[in-house]
């Protein structure tokens, strides 16, 4: 750890070298960086993860001239609403904002994400490849990854054992287990089909090979209701019809309790979930285990990502260099990054931390002493990087949530929901001036 951190830390001298390379560009934007750094600078960061200020203060300790104020303007959706409002108003944007991977294309499209390439490219190699691909476009870098959500399976060991269920390695086995559990233990479900979270749906479909969007300039390909989606829909429709999965809205207290009480025996979820659960659950301590994400083909090694975010600097910031420095620090400083993982339940994006056996291999009592992160470390390296989000992902998520939830509530099948989704998204994209194909 000590040795790693020495290697990893982007110290001030290194940064100056990096910044020097980009000076030609920055001189256009304003003062040369060297001059700006003389003055006290305060940066405003919008982020919703708790205690982010602690990490920001670590940065200030290192760079005393730059202080960072963290504001929580809302959780997820409301956060982006605030950003868009500020963009619409033409004023009020922070210097930096937390930005989930799936929002990067949307805000890039709005032209507010500053290119951090000059500061960040030197540290590029330290990041897990897929995360860097998600934030960059050639040498342009629109955000510094700082946490990720490779997918895995969390399950209740006690429920599995009691009902003699093998940990499913494939989705077929998962389906069988669901049907078996529904028969053997009524009132207990293998899982909750969480369509109220479009992020989850996208993540699970990502693994299945679904690639709904491809954007090039103003041309966009939209294939939301392709065969992969239809097959996936049919898979879950069968389980829903058989009442072999629960369909509670996610993130409610009822849903949390269902996990804690063993009503939901498993959850296909992301790497940040374990720490979250161990902080929220009281009854099920020691009963949870982690396993790799079920595969569509036996022996497959394809996973996907759910959530995770980046730090992005806004083009409107009067301190682009300092913002870039800060974003890079937050993503790549191993000490700060380690804090994410331990304090905020975030899963790292740095190779050094992923490879850190001590950090990732720590046994966890909540999971009966299992080193759950090891499962997600494997998953992180298997994430297929070819997935693209739409440049209007919030609209897609909103519509997906509406349509999928409507079908669960009895309005047609899940397959129909994808058809409606396709129609609405195509109409929206066309309306927004895109050439849709």
């Amino acid at each position: 750890m000590e040795k790693d951190s020495k290697r990893m830390t982007l110290d001030r001298r290194q940064f100056m070298q990096a910044a020097g390379a980009g000076l030609a560009a920055t001189a256009v934007a304003g003062l040369p960086f060297a001059a700006a750094a003389q003055d006290k600078v305060e940066l405003l960061l919008w982020a919703w993860t708790p205690d982010t200020q602690v990490q920001a203060d670590m940065f200030t300790k290192k760079y005393p001239n730059i202080s960072v104020k963290v504001e929580n303007v809302g959780q997820g959706g409301p956060h982006y609403v605030k950003l868009r409002n500020a963009i619409q108003a033409g004023t009020g944007l922070p210097d930096l904002a937390q930005m989930e991977f799936n929002s990067i294309p949307s805000f890039k499209q709005l032209g507010v994400l500053a290119d951090l390439g000059a500061a960040a490219n030197p540290v590029k190699d330290q990041f897990i490849d897929w995360t860097w691909k998600a934030v960059s476009d050639g040498d342009k870098v629109y955000g510094i990854p700082w946490d990720s959500g490779p997918m895995g399976l969390l399950y209740r060991n006690d429920v599995f054992e009691k009902n003699k269920i093998e940990v499913p390695g494939t989705w077929d086995a998962y389906s069988e287990a669901s049907l078996k559990l529904a028969t053997d233990a009524p009132g207990t479900y293998m899982s909750n089909f969480g369509v109220s979270d479009a992020g989850w749906v996208a993540a699970v479909l990502w693994q299945a090979g679904w690639r709904p969007f491809h954007t090039e300039g103003t041309n966009i390909t939209i294939k939301l209701n392709d065969d992969i989606a239809k097959k996936w829909a049919a898979y879950w429709q069968k389980l829903v019809d058989a009442k072999a999965v629960d369909t509670k809205p996610m993130w409610t207290t009822e849903w949390f309790a269902a996990l804690d009480d063993g009503v939901h025996a498993s959850w296909v979820t992301a790497a940040w979930a374990p720490v979250l659960m161990q902080n929220s659950m009281k009854k099920s301590v020691g009963l949870w285990r982690a396993a790799p994400m079920p595969q569509w083909t036996a022996g497959g090694t394809v996973t996907s990502n759910w959530g995770g975010s980046t730090f992005a600097a806004m083009t409107t910031t009067p301190h682009p260099e300092e913002a870039a420095l800060f974003a890079t620090f937050m993503g790549s400083d191993p000490e700060a990054a380690a804090l994410w993982n331990s304090k905020q339940f975030l899963f790292p994006v740095l190779k050094s931390l992923i490879d850190d056996k001590a950090l990732m291999g720590a046994p966890n009592a909540f999971y009966g002493g299992q080193a759950v992160n090891e499962i997600f470390v494997v998953s992180e390296n298997q994430v297929d990087p070819s997935f693209e989000f739409a440049p209007f992902q919030d609209f897609v998520n909103q519509t997906m949530q509406d349509e999928m939830s409507a079908s669960i509530a009895g309005s047609g099948t899940l397959g129909d929901a994808f058809d409606r989704l396709q129609d609405k998204v195509v109409a929206y994209a066309t309306d927004q001036g895109y050439t849709v194909s």
């Binding site: 868009r84 809205p249 009822e254 309790a257 269902a258 919030d394 509406d402 939830s405 001036g433 895109y434």
Partner: protein, 301 residues
């Protein structure tokens, strides 16, 4: 008083009758214009344009309005509100009236206590009211669910397709019934005492007096509260917005027109279309209120 604007009279600023009304109106009207008229004009301006993500902004005239008129997401919401209003308003105001008459009858114990207690929900922010009722509705943690479980009864389902509208209506009833009750009660209290004496001399019972003398006398008040309730109903936003995460499948992003306008602006970035939706909603509110007033007047005439 042509040129007597404000003369100084023995050391005191003397404002004349002709300038005074403008002076008194100035603070309110200035703010009214700044925070109501100006934003409305601005929004109306917005509604005539269309801004897209990649094709820029263009003037589209009435196109956004024409789109609203054929937008099922909007009209579904309006229909839902009619259902909601037809359920919630009669129950809320009917009960408020009934309880106001009971309070006013003088035939109860603890009148002052009840009067204050009934008004208290009005003090609870709708955010908190929705949160509390959300908990109460919960099938596992809600006390009603817990009670049902304890008695081995089927759990009441407050958040399903068929029941959630009623559940939201209940929150609105809970929040505003006491407020209307107090208004009715105050109106009833203003009825002269001698009418009661006259009616009892005429041989009317308390019930007859309540229904045939008091009720018609406070009808103007009732009509005003109905109009305000109609307006409030058609603007329904907070309760479904806050209940959404409990029942995302049923409360979709265009559940009520106001909610739809919110989604359009804040999620879909269709500020222009959102403004048009808001204006059409305002029109619906005006038309419904006006039609109701016409009906009420015809009945009264």
């Amino acid at each position: 008083m042509p040129d007597a604007v404000a003369t100084r009279r023995r050391g005191r600023v003397y404002v004349t009758k002709s300038v005074a009304p403008y002076l008194f109106l100035l603070p309110f009207m200035a703010l009214f214009v700044a925070f109501l008229i100006a934003p409305l004009c601005y929004a109306f301006g917005l509604s005539l344009f269309k801004t897209t993500m990649v094709a820029g902004t263009q003037f589209v005239g009435a196109a956004n309005y024409l789109k609203v008129f054929t937008d099922p997401s909007f009209w579904d919401g309006v229909v839902l509100l009619f259902k909601f209003g037809l359920m919630q308003i009669p129950i809320m105001l009917g009960l408020a009236l009934l309880y106001a008459l009971i309070l006013d009858s003088g035939r109860v114990y603890g009148r002052n206590f009840f009067r204050i207690a009934f008004f208290i929900p009005y003090a609870v922010p709708s955010v908190i009211a929705a949160l509390l009722w959300g908990y109460l509705y919960g099938p596992s943690f809600g006390p009603f669910g817990q009670l049902a479980e304890f008695f081995h009864l089927p759990k009441p389902q407050f958040l399903l397709d068929g029941t959630i509208l009623g559940s939201i209506a209940n929150i609105a009833v809970w929040e505003f019934m006491g407020y209307n009750l107090i208004i009715y009660f105050a109106a009833l209290q203003a009825i002269p005492q001698d009418l009661e004496e006259a009616s009892s001399v005429d041989g009317a019972t308390g019930l007859q007096y309540a229904l045939r003398i008091k009720l018609p006398l406070i009808m103007p008040t009732v009509i005003v509260t109905i109009i305000f309730s109609i307006i409030g109903t058609l603007q329904l936003f907070s309760e479904p917005y806050l209940m959404r995460n409990l029942a995302p499948g049923i409360i979709n992003s265009h559940y009520t027109p106001n909610f739809y306008a919110y989604t359009l602006a804040f999620t879909n970035q269709q500020y222009n279309y959102s403004a048009a939706v808001s204006f059409v909603l305002g029109g619906v509110v005006a038309v419904v209120s006006y039609v109701f007033m016409l009906l009420a007047n015809r009945r009264a005439a």
